[in-house]
């Protein structure tokens, strides 16, 4: 587990990370969401042991990360602009990284290169931006580090590649307990890949929750009441996060489990009643509105 406790970091007069406390569990895909300048990269760079926090403490599997070889062997950091040696090819990078990460799986790496159609002898300088990102991700995965810290690494990957990487993540998580931590400024990039999301804003954490928990605790309902009294009666029992009405069709976003919501509607007469799935975006809108933010302005552009 990566434990981040009361971490703060300033650059000159700018507070990049402000007293953040987050736990990143194991074998989950942790999404780190936030606008540009929210502190995602700074947080990941501190977790990777690149930057020293001004205050607070970071441990990885109960080991401090700063200049700690053992702790770092469990982590692989892919920055937003992945670095490759000048004039190198994937095999050169593999050779170097296999010295740094003795557990590096060279065979698997070669297999993945073939799978993703990345020529192993071609100079990385001639790769496209997307290919470089894929390569960085494959190097990270094959390093066999437990925690893969990806800073905007999925931005710009085409859907097929995303799906491919997602499959590998799933496999690696299952086989060896890989824990990817993915920072992105775009919620939609993470929607289909993350298990847990932390939302950063202005250096602080707005929320950090399991997506499943969030999905379980918020419901969207469409219904047509038998009478206006029924509607009034229901609204006395629940407080919708969001309510819309088109003619007689009412749509509510309600906090609570499906069972809670169904029980509430069981007390009123409806002509039509249906629970609908919520997108991650809708869940976030609801969640951030609770804490007083408009997520559309934060991460949906």
């Amino acid at each position: 587990m990566i434990r981040i406790e009361n971490i703060s970091k300033s650059f000159d007069d700018i507070k990049a990370v402000d007293d953040i406390t987050v736990d990143i569990g194991e074998q989950i895909v942790f999404g780190l969401l936030g606008t540009n300048g929210a502190g995602k990269s700074t947080l990941l760079r501190m977790v990777s042991g690149i930057l020293k926090p001004d205050s607070g403490n970071i441990t990885v599997d109960e080991m401090g990360v700063l200049d700690n070889e053992e702790a770092k062997k469990n982590m692989f950091f892919i920055s937003d602009s992945p670095y490759f040696f000048a004039n190198s090819n994937p095999i050169d990078m593999m050779t170097y990284l296999s010295i740094q990460y003795p557990q590096f799986d060279k065979d698997k790496f070669r297999d993945y290169l073939k799978t993703f159609n990345l020529p192993e002898k071609r100079k990385i300088g001639t790769y496209s931006k997307g290919m470089k990102r894929q390569l960085a991700l494959l190097l990270g995965i094959c390093s066999n580090a437990k925690y893969l810290l990806c800073d905007e690494s999925f931005d710009g990957l085409d859907p097929v590649m995303r799906q491919g990487i997602k499959s590998i993540f799933a496999k690696e998580m299952d086989e060896r307990g890989l824990t990817p931590v993915i920072a992105s400024h775009n919620l939609r990039e993470l929607e289909d890949i993350c298990d847990h999301v932390g939302l950063l804003h202005k250096g602080g954490v707005l929320l950090s929750k399991d997506l499943e928990d969030m999905k379980l605790n918020i419901q969207r309902v469409q219904c047509v009441y038998s009478s206006e009294e029924d509607e009034s009666k229901l609204l006395q029992m629940v407080e919708p996060v969001k309510a819309e009405k088109m003619g007689s069709l009412c749509t509510y976003t309600l906090r609570g489990t499906r069972e809670d919501v169904e029980n509430a509607f069981a007390c009123v007469n409806t002509i039509f009643f249906e629970t609908l799935p919520l997108s991650l975006e809708e869940i976030f809108i609801s969640e951030t509105e609770v804490v007083g933010y408009d997520i559309k302005k934060l991460i949906l552009g």
Partner: protein, 735 residues
């Protein structure tokens, strides 16, 4: 074992990415240097040496080869230059990633301890220097052997120079790493290398500039060389080697300690460098203000001092201008530094408080230095604390060559610092005291500092005094000894006639006479005649000279003109190599042993008659004659409306035998220049050029040749002070 293997693997991997530097090293040390060495050695043509030097050809040839070896294999500027350049390149190659965020993210996130990454990088840099340069040295020795000069540069010398160069390389290499670690971009790193490397040099420049403007302070040329920088210490060690023949253990230890200090500083700067500083100017933000002040204040002071030196003006009005220059410089330098720190031109106008602090501090320091607030100009240590002194009469340049026991040429101050230990401190202090009082008194009569120069040249003879205290301090003073002061004469007579002075001043007195005398150029000559000397005659002459120096009497010699000069060369053999060192010494009438031996060799003082000259031209330069007691009016004339383009000199030409006959008793040959005399011996405003008669060309015996016969047809003479005949002045139209 795994760790060791992975360490070696890291080194191997790191080297893969420094291939360009390996190629550079191989080109510099394995290809270029040995190839140049080969070209130089092959260019030493034996036949040319045989034709030019005859029996000396072999020695001269070996000397040439040894000279090439010194340059290419020894410790010298050539090797230092390439070593230094390579050290900076290696430092940049190993640590430039610190300036780039993307690389920092990559390297620092790797599971590798900072210590190990540092070690891998520095080892790579050192190996890149050591291996190619070692191979280059082996190749050079191979070339020497192939040309039959094996042993021209000994294995011990090779090891010594290799070790010295390695120390220098490590010092500069880590200085580069230190600079890169303290900064965040290439431009700042280059600036930092310059600042760290030259900061002490600048401070010393201020000190030297300060001393330059004082009346009684003195500095040696070597005072500018830093003591606390790898290159400065290295140059000092090399100078020591040249003088003493070897680098002392203390210098070695100092060099090693200094190198270690730079290594440790670089290590800690690297370890504690915040990784977010990539791309910024300074790695440690807190350094910015003190660093700016530490750079801007001395720089402004230096500009102030340089302004005075360049303008060559020293009056009080000009000082106001210079202070203005210092203020402007302080502001501009502050603004530029701030712009560099912030990497933003607009920042030139930021932090105006720093402008004020810098300007005030620079002006204060400048004024303190100019006004000698701490009284350093007149400072001499307490007499009781003095162990010995050296007294160097700067105008008494009887031997212009000061040669160390290791046969290196030295400056007078360097030589006397090493060799002269006068224990009569009371006399020296009395002389210092009366000289300073006299000069201060003279200077107090004038309100223009520039007048001092004329006074100093005319009424005083400068002497350098080196005071060594019991605690090991060495203080240099430049003392104007009054020419017309009887007590000063008495003290000088006593000091300069002392055995301590003679032993410490005349380098030939300490020279080993078993040394080989070269037969290349040995002669006794004066303006009129030349006597060629054989090597054994030079040796005998040196013995006579040493005996005469045992009885050196300053009072006597100060009233004598030299009768001629012995020119000779000493050979120093090192292994198979011979070095030649030219030298000369003057012979005076009171040097009876030398004079008698010259007579034995057939030399007679030339009996000059009017018939010997075709013509005599006397030129009078009125501007060279002035009354020092009325120096201010002269100075005013020279600075106000004097027309420098006009030639107001006057000539008188004498061609008849009768006229020349009248002149002869007053003419003093310039050889007889009374180098030990006190003040002006000759009339400075008159020069006499005598054209030798063609008849003289055929004079001389088998050994003593006239210089005219060798092509010298003009002989220069002077009038002694106060002995210009009236008819000459009349002929020149002087009232």
């Amino acid at each position: 074992m795994t760790s060791k293997n992975s360490f070696l693997a890291s080194i191997r991997e790191d080297n893969k990415r420094k291939l360009w530097l390996w190629l550079t090293a191989v080109f510099m040390f394995v290809v270029f240097a040995p190839l140049l060495f080969l070209v130089l050695i092959a260019g030493v043509d034996e036949q040319t040496y045989i034709m030019s030097y005859g029996s000396m050809a072999h020695d001269m040839l070996l000397q040439a080869v040894a000279g090439i070896c010194e340059v290419m294999l020894g410790v010298n500027v050539f090797r230092l230059f390439f070593g230094g350049i390579f050290a900076i390149l290696a430092a940049y190659s190993g640590f430039y990633w610190l300036d780039d965020k993307i690389r920092v993210d990559f390297y620092v996130s790797m599971p590798e301890k900072k210590n190990r990454r540092f070690l891998v990088s520095i080892l790579d840099g050192i190996l890149m220097y050591v291996i190619p340069s070692f191979i280059g040295i082996l190749l050079s020795h191979g070339i020497l052997s192939a040309f039959g000069y094996a042993g021209a540069f000994s294995a011990a010398d090779t090891c010594h120079s290799f070790f010295m160069c390695l120390l220098f390389f490590i010092g500069i290499y880590f200085l580069g790493i230190l600079a890169i670690s303290l900064t965040g971009n290439v431009f700042a790193s280059v600036c930092a290398i310059a600042v760290i490397g030259l900061y002490e040099f600048i401070l010393r420049g201020i000190w030297v500039g300060y001393a330059e403007f004082q009346r009684y302070m003195y500095h040696m040329e070597s005072d500018l060389i830093p003591s606390f920088s790898p290159w400065g210490s290295f140059i000092r060690a090399v100078m020591e080697e040249q003088v003493k023949g070897s680098v002392s253990a203390s210098s070695y230890i100092k060099l090693i300690i200094l190198t270690l200090v730079v290594v440790i500083a670089a290590y800690f700067a690297y370890i504690y460098r915040p990784m977010e500083s990539a791309g910024k100017t300074l790695a440690f933000k807190k350094m910015s203000t003190p660093l700016k002040l530490l750079l801007a204040i001395p720089a402004a002071v230096v500009i102030g001092l340089a302004t005075i030196i360049v303008s060559d003006s020293n009056n009080s009005r000009f000082q106001v201008v210079v202070i203005f220059v210092v203020i402007i410089s302080a502001v501009i330098i502050c603004a530029i530094i701030e712009a560099i720190f912030e990497l933003d031109v607009k920042a030139v106008l930021a932090k105006k408080l720093h402008w004020i602090i810098t300007a005030v501090a620079a002006v204060a320091i400048f004024c303190m230095l100019r006004a000698d607030v701490f009284g350093l100009d007149r400072y001499v240590p307490d007499k009781d604390s003095v162990e010995s002194v050296a007294f160097i009469p700067s105008n008494f340049l009887d031997t212009y060559m000061f040669i160390s026991k290791n046969m290196s040429y030295m400056n007078a101050d360097e030589y006397c610092l090493e060799n002269m230990f006068i224990t009569d401190v009371d006399s020296v202090y009395e002389l210092i005291d009366l000289s300073i009082k006299s000069y201060d008194e003279d200077c107090s009569k004038f309100d223009q500092e520039d007048v001092e120069r004329y006074i100093r040249y005319g009424k005083y003879d400068d002497a350098v005094v080196i005071i060594r205290t019991k605690s090991g301090r060495v203080i240099f003073k430049n003392i104007p000894v009054p020419i017309n002061n009887d007590r000063a004469h008495e003290i000088e007579d006593k000091l300069l006639s002392s055995e301590e002075f003679v032993n410490g001043y005349f380098s030939l007195k300490n020279q080993d006479l078993d040394l080989e005398i070269s037969d290349d150029w040995n002669e006794f000559s004066n303006s009129f005649t030349t006597l060629a000397l054989k090597t054994d005659e030079v040796k005998k002459m040196l013995e006579c000279y040493k005996k005469d120096l045992d009885n050196f009497d300053y009072e006597k010699i100060s009233n004598e003109g030299s009768i001629g000069t012995i020119y000779f060369s000493l050979n120093k053999r090192t292994g198979v190599t011979t070095y030649m060192r030219s030298n000369y010494f003057s012979i005076y009438p009171s040097m009876t042993n030398c004079v008698e031996y010259l007579a034995e060799l057939g030399y007679e003082a030339p009996k000059i008659t009017a018939k010997d000259f075709a013509s005599v031209t006397i030129t009078y330069y009125p501007d060279s004659e002035y009354d020092y007691d009325d120096i201010e009016s002269y100075y005013s004339k020279m600075t106000a409306d004097y027309d420098y383009s006009s030639d107001n000199s006057k000539n008188a030409i004498y061609v008849g035998e009768e006229d020349i006959e009248k002149l002869l008793p007053y003419m003093e040959m310039s050889d007889y220049s009374y180098k030990w005399g006190k003040g002006d011996i000759f009339e400075p405003a008159y020069t006499i050029e005598a054209e030798v008669s063609t008849a003289k060309l055929f004079e001389g015996n088998s050994r003593v040749m006239t210089n005219a016969a060798r092509g010298t047809t003009i002989v220069y003479y002077y009038f002694k002070k106060g002995q210009v005949p009236d008819f000459v002045n009349k002929d020149l139209g002087i009232e």
